[in-house]
Symmetry: C4
Subunit: 238 residues, 4 copies
């Protein structure tokens, strides 16, 4: 299989996994950087992630221009992805989602930080971006490169940025990493919220976050989890 | 397909989606205004929404008289729907439900207000109607036009009214809008409840609610979500 | 079909519905009074409710003696049922369950009371029975008639009694009523717990509980809900 | 069937049940002591529990050396199991999991203790092990016998030890007991967390825990629950 066809399949699989795990519903998207051209990325046309198929995958420039739309309608918020690829050459996949567990952290200013080793890949520092700070009252969507770049600046060198009243952006070296980080961001948020209601919380230390993140983004760990996530999403044969 | 047959199918689809999303259980209903006669509306006979089929759809006058019942038993609370259609010419579909996430707001007086953009279609102002205020101790059901009109007055120009100890009424320009607003009302209520337990909450501003509501009730957004909701409910071919 | 065969089928259907709705798991049971002999009741042999079939249904005296066990092992806690039938000629079906939502009320002394009309059939007064009060440190199970009668005394004229650290007993005039009351007891408990975390709660008034309970235990309401519950449990044809 | 083949099947069944009940996700494992050689144990190769089949089951020495790996990759944390078998001749099965409900207790120091009879098999005393106490900042995994033995020391004569920021270890006389204790540990943790939010909690007394634990680990109780858990996991024929 050509690299680009494989990458297109990866986008489909990541969409279906995110839908199965409840990270996305009718909205949310995942992209991968084009394997042959780092100035391009691959993304579904505007469709709920659970329904994405190979025919939906389009190619975009980093500025968000479709290379060949063939009549397909792109997502309004594709600029989140291009702006992060532009700023972060280390990133090869981006997820944008509205995971319910994550929203309360974005609207309360409570700092999200891993309480469990499998959540460590979200990192020790998770900034919160508020579109209102620079763009005033909007529909909260990231609809051009200026907004996308502002979000990417806020993300900085981290894996996750929360978006106030909206959701989050998650960056990874691969589609597996961005997808799994999104899944375990949800787990980490739920567990932190529960633990905080119970009493004083012991978080992972900075060094533990680094060690655990290395472990859970290692090839053996990713392979085991990916096989499981594909199975659950019914895409083991994709 | 004739407009009225299409409208009847819409009622079936909306019922099945509301059941799939956990907005309704054995109880709750959704109607659409008759496409050819604004003084009539279409509604299932008394049956759990998950089980509604085309044969169950009946036609009612706004006063709640069945046009031809063919032996079918109507819902006792149909007056919620007729009273809202009577007062609100802009409304073409109404949902009544007991969504669990919404109930606590109705019985505590805590103001429900969107904390997330996808919830903005519920609006900035959500009144709470208490049947006891005018009708004393009842079984809480809206069983005649006088009670229905009192609820419709409380609803006013808004999309959602909560009903103390009972549920809510949701009005939309279309069956998609009333259904999706019901689904995201549930999401908004859950997220607000979670956020409030965590700390001081930043709600969407009035202007953000207006902008977000326009976006999430736009044709492209509704189409994407509707395709997803139909798929999940197993009614893609209806 | 003979009355007794129908009653045996009712026991199977009620078991499967309670399992589907998460009211029971590996444990819990439901019985009906024998239709031809009020001094007997029908109950499955010791088996998880989800797996109960017609062959499992046994007949017991009110004292808990099997009429013909055919080698089948009875539930250790059958005395809950016989003791309630003995004391309450109006009761024709009893459910015993460990529904998770209900447990916290039994161990904290927080008074359970309906906040929603569909929960009204649980009644305005729900006593809590603590086996320790009369029987000291036990395995918490009701294993003889003396314990069963003590529980039945605590239940008094009510539909529901909580059992501290254990679960609850639910009495109804029919298997539909005991089953549906168990399902909506669970709903009522969840909603009250959520509402209490949010602020001061407005409960249904005593008169509202009476009116709502009459409505939701009426034939039309029960029929609609029962059709739905049978469908969800996959026993529409039983 | 030979004892060892039966034991291998038991490992498969226990894995699938733990996955079905949400005790494990992509991670977590269960082992049984070798029926013919107490110095050995049986464990799947590194694979998500939901996907484990008979071909994945490997034999290990208590030190964690594979007897014949046939190219299969072992779990990094197998030392949890060997160290417990070494210290506890009464234990014939061990589960390690990250059950979400349990994590908050490990990171807050809130004492976990049964509030419901079915949870009594977790015992009255549940210690919390923090790998940081002796091993400093790590990836939190138990990757050698020294760490495993330290955890086993913390476990002592108990059935359950929590692991701070990580999960728990559960020991049983059989695979049914370790699996069911893991399932009901999850239930006990959820119910205690809910009850604590509601008010002052009455826990089971020490004597009640002993009586209830004896009841719910008895053959008749285990058989009923095991039949149910196998059915739900779709492994009734294994």
């Amino acid at each position: 299989m050509s690299d680009v066809l494989q990458a297109m399949r990866d986008v489909v699989v990541a969409n279906r996994i995110l839908a199965r795990e409840g990270v996305v519903d009718a909205y949310g998207h995942v992209t991968v950087r084009h394997p042959d051209n780092p100035e391009r990325y691959l993304m579904s046309c505007s469709r709920a992630p659970e329904l994405v198929t190979l025919d939906d995958i389009m190619e975009f420039t980093l500025e968000g221009e479709p290379v060949d739309d063939s009549g397909r309608v792109p997502y309004a918020e594709r600029f989140i992805h291009g702006a992060i690829y532009e700023k972060r050459p280390d990133v090869n996949s981006v997820v944008h989602n509205h995971s319910h567990a994550v929203i309360p952290f974005g609207v309360t200013g409570v700092k999200l930080r891993p309480v469990i080793h499998v959540g460590a890949s979200i990192g020790a520092d998770i900034p919160v971006w508020d579109i209102r700070d620079r763009f005033g009252d909007t529909n909260l969507l990231v609809v051009d490169m200026e907004q996308g770049r502002d979000l990417a600046d806020c993300l900085g060198p981290n894996r996750v940025a929360l978006m106030r009243g909206h959701g989050c952006a998650v960056a990874g070296v691969s589609h597996q990493q961005s997808t799994m980080t999104s899944v375990y961001l949800q787990v980490a948020a739920e567990l932190q919220a529960q633990a905080m209601r119970m009493g004083e919380v012991t978080y992972l230390s900075d060094a533990e976050i680094e060690h655990c993140s290395a472990t859970f983004t290692s090839e053996i760990s990713v392979n085991r989890a990916w096989q499981y996530l594909r199975h659950r999403a019914g895409v083991s044969d994709l």
